[in-house]
């Protein structure tokens, strides 16, 4: 394949997923590496082996798996098992304007890293990158019900993890029914 044709074809497929992919990279690389490096390296690797991709429909799955592998290698290299326990963001890390908005996003990213790998990926793809469950099933090469389960459990755990200054309501109590059963 001519290199120009290859690039054109590649960019056509890539254009569709550009925004989602960058958001994915940003969430996924948090605390591990610079997300711009991740984007560049993933694109380069994907482009290099682009000819080998048989089904062009599965381009998304292809490039996401490349990014995922790069992160895995980086983790192995740096031997980061997980991020520090403290999920309340350190104010020291705020370096730019719009501190508060960044605050929320960074709190979310930190919390995300406490989820299991597949769960985290599913949540990022669904909630941040905006993919449908069916698409995520293709990317993660899993069944739809498995993805649903991952999303559900991931959301549950995230709710617990995210620091929310709130008291949850207690469950309603129904003591009388038990009492009546005792009497009669």
């Amino acid at each position: 394949m001519d290199s120009k044709t290859k690039q054109k074809e590649f960019m056509l497929l890539y254009e569709v997923i550009h925004t989602s992919f960058i958001k994915y990279c940003k969430a996924k690389s948090y605390g591990i590496m610079d997300y711009k490096d991740l984007v560049n390296e993933s694109v380069l690797r994907a482009f290099e082996k682009f000819e080998r991709l048989q089904k062009k429909d599965s381009f998304a799955a292809y490039i996401y798996s490349i990014a995922s592998n790069i992160i895995k290698n980086e983790l192995r290299r740096k031997k980061i098992s997980r991020l520090p326990d403290n999920y309340i963001i350190d104010v020291k890390q705020l370096t730019e304007n719009h501190a508060i908005q960044k605050f929320e996003i960074e709190i979310l990213y930190k919390a995300l890293h406490k989820l299991p790998e597949k769960q985290k990926e599913a949540i990022i793809l669904f909630e941040i990158s905006g993919y449908s469950i069916k698409e995520i099933a293709e990317i993660q090469k899993s069944g739809i019900s498995a993805i649903k389960q991952r999303l559900k459990r991931g959301r549950q755990k995230l709710s617990e993890l995210l620091y929310v200054p709130v008291v949850m309501k207690e469950e309603k109590r129904q003591p009388l029914k038990v009492l009546l059963m005792l009497f009669f």
Binding site: S3, I22, K23, F47, V91, L94, A99, P165
Partner: protein, 424 residues
């Protein structure tokens, strides 16, 4: 959708709508540059590695040279001075004080701080008053003495009320010269204050100042020692930088923002006043349980604050259930394993002394079954014990005679009437 879900979605919304900082064109340019150089990726990597090789070699050489010079200097330096082994002292304050007539307290005449540099830290305590509780030496003639206290605070004495103070007493002599009359270490009680009003004046700049674009207020967030606060455009500190996190204004209530200090939550308003001191583990949104009230949690106990920040129900209850579940304007409370009710003024209308409380109107209109020490009784809608909990068993009203209820007490069966009186 539950509250938790709402919060979660808020976070997702922020992440989803964040601006993408890498434009699409940049990716195209990246590939263009690869194509233009006609480099395969492997080639690209190989080139980087070669460059890296040179980089590593040069840096190793420089490091070796620097290390050599350093060690050479160290060896020729004189021995490390003893000051390095001194304890970590953060502030030394010297007070010149005058003994009062009651001979137990002292008035501070003059104060000097010998270590300014480390003194300027917000979390370091500032001494507001000194009260000597124990004297370990004989009294000194009040006409002769001017006593100097040298207070040495180290980092571990943050909140200590018992800091050791070295006390030197100088004896005034006729020719104005002084000599040390006594030198002793005293156990004293020092009231320490965590914040000082003087602090703001002494502060010399901030660690970081953000743009003046916070919400609708022309304020800038400032950071000091990882704590945030706000200044206005005149440079006045609207909110002192003592909080770990400051939330959005208006999230809970108009002009209020939640703050986090020492892992506890409270509220400040736009005038910078602490409406609710940061002492709670958690605070719920207002109006969720009752209009104008917000549920609070402190040491795993629940209570309520109102919109003025007043603790309308102290956080002493293990659980507080919804208002109106049993009776309008009443909420079931649990203290230990006992239940009771509070009303909308925050008073305990039924003291939490019952093992269980049934629904109203279940047995008889306006009556609710209560269980105390495994005995049954009833309360009415004013919260009075209309039938004391002394019965072992209670049967339905009207089962044997209209308006009479069969009850069992100490193995004997009897009736109570509609006023709760025993009939026979």
């Amino acid at each position: 959708m539950s509250y938790k879900e709402n919060i979660l979605n808020k976070y997702f919304f922020a992440a989803k709508n964040e601006r993408v900082e890498i434009p699409f064109d940049e990716i195209n340019k990246l590939l263009n540059s690869i194509n233009a150089q006609n480099l395969s990726l492997n080639h690209f990597h190989a080139k980087t590695i070669i460059n890296l090789k040179y980089l590593i070699m040069t840096s190793t050489l420089i490091t070796t040279l620097v290390a050599g010079i350093y060690f050479f200097n160290i060896q020729n330096e004189p021995a490390i001075s003893d000051t390095l082994h001194q304890p970590d002292i953060s502030a030394v304050e010297t007070f010149t004080i005058n003994k009062n007539q009651n001979k137990k307290t002292f008035t501070i005449l003059d104060k000097s701080i010998s270590n300014q540099k480390t003194y300027v830290k917000p979390e370091k305590p500032v001494i507001s008053s000194i009260n000597i509780t124990q004297q370990t030496e004989p009294e000194i003639n009040k006409f002769e003495s001017i006593t100097q206290l040298i207070i040495t605070q180290n980092d571990t004495a943050k909140n200590s009320n018992d800091t050791l103070i070295k006390r030197k007493t100088y004896k005034n002599q006729s020719n104005n010269s002084k000599h040390i009359a006594s030198d002793a270490t005293l156990n004293v009680n020092i009231n320490v204050k965590n914040e000082s009003n003087d602090y703001a004046e002494k502060r010399n700049g901030y660690d970081k100042i953000f743009d003046f674009n916070f919400n609708n207020y022309k304020w800038a967030m400032v950071l000091v020692d990882h704590k945030c606060g706000f200044i206005d455009t005149t440079g006045k500190e609207i909110i002192k930088p003592v909080y770990k996190i400051i939330g959005h204004f208006g999230e809970y209530k108009e002009n209020w923002a939640w703050v986090l200090m020492n892992k506890k939550i409270g509220f400040i308003d736009t005038s910078g006043r602490e409406i609710v001191k940061p002492v709670y583990d958690a605070i719920n949104y207002f109006d969720e349980y009752k209009e104008g009230w917000a549920l609070i949690k402190k040491n795993k106990r629940y209570g309520f604050i109102d919109t003025t920040g007043y603790e309308i129900v102290s956080p002493v209850y293990k659980h507080i259930y919804n208002f109106g579940e049993y009776k309008e304007d009443w909420a079931l409370i649990r203290l230990g394993k006992k239940y009771g009710f509070i009303n909308t003024t925050g008073n305990e209308i039924v003291k939490p002394v019952y093992q269980s409380i049934g629904n109203f109107d279940e047995y008889k209109e306006n009556w609710a079954l209560i269980v105390k020490d495994k005995k049954f009784g009833f309360i009415d809608i004013s919260g009075n014990e209309i039938v004391a909990p002394i019965y072992d068993q209670i049967y339905n009203i009207g089962e044997f005679k209209d308006n009479w209820m069969k009850v069992k007490k100490n193995g004997k069966e009897l009736f109570i009437d509609s006023n709760g009186e025993e009939v026979f």
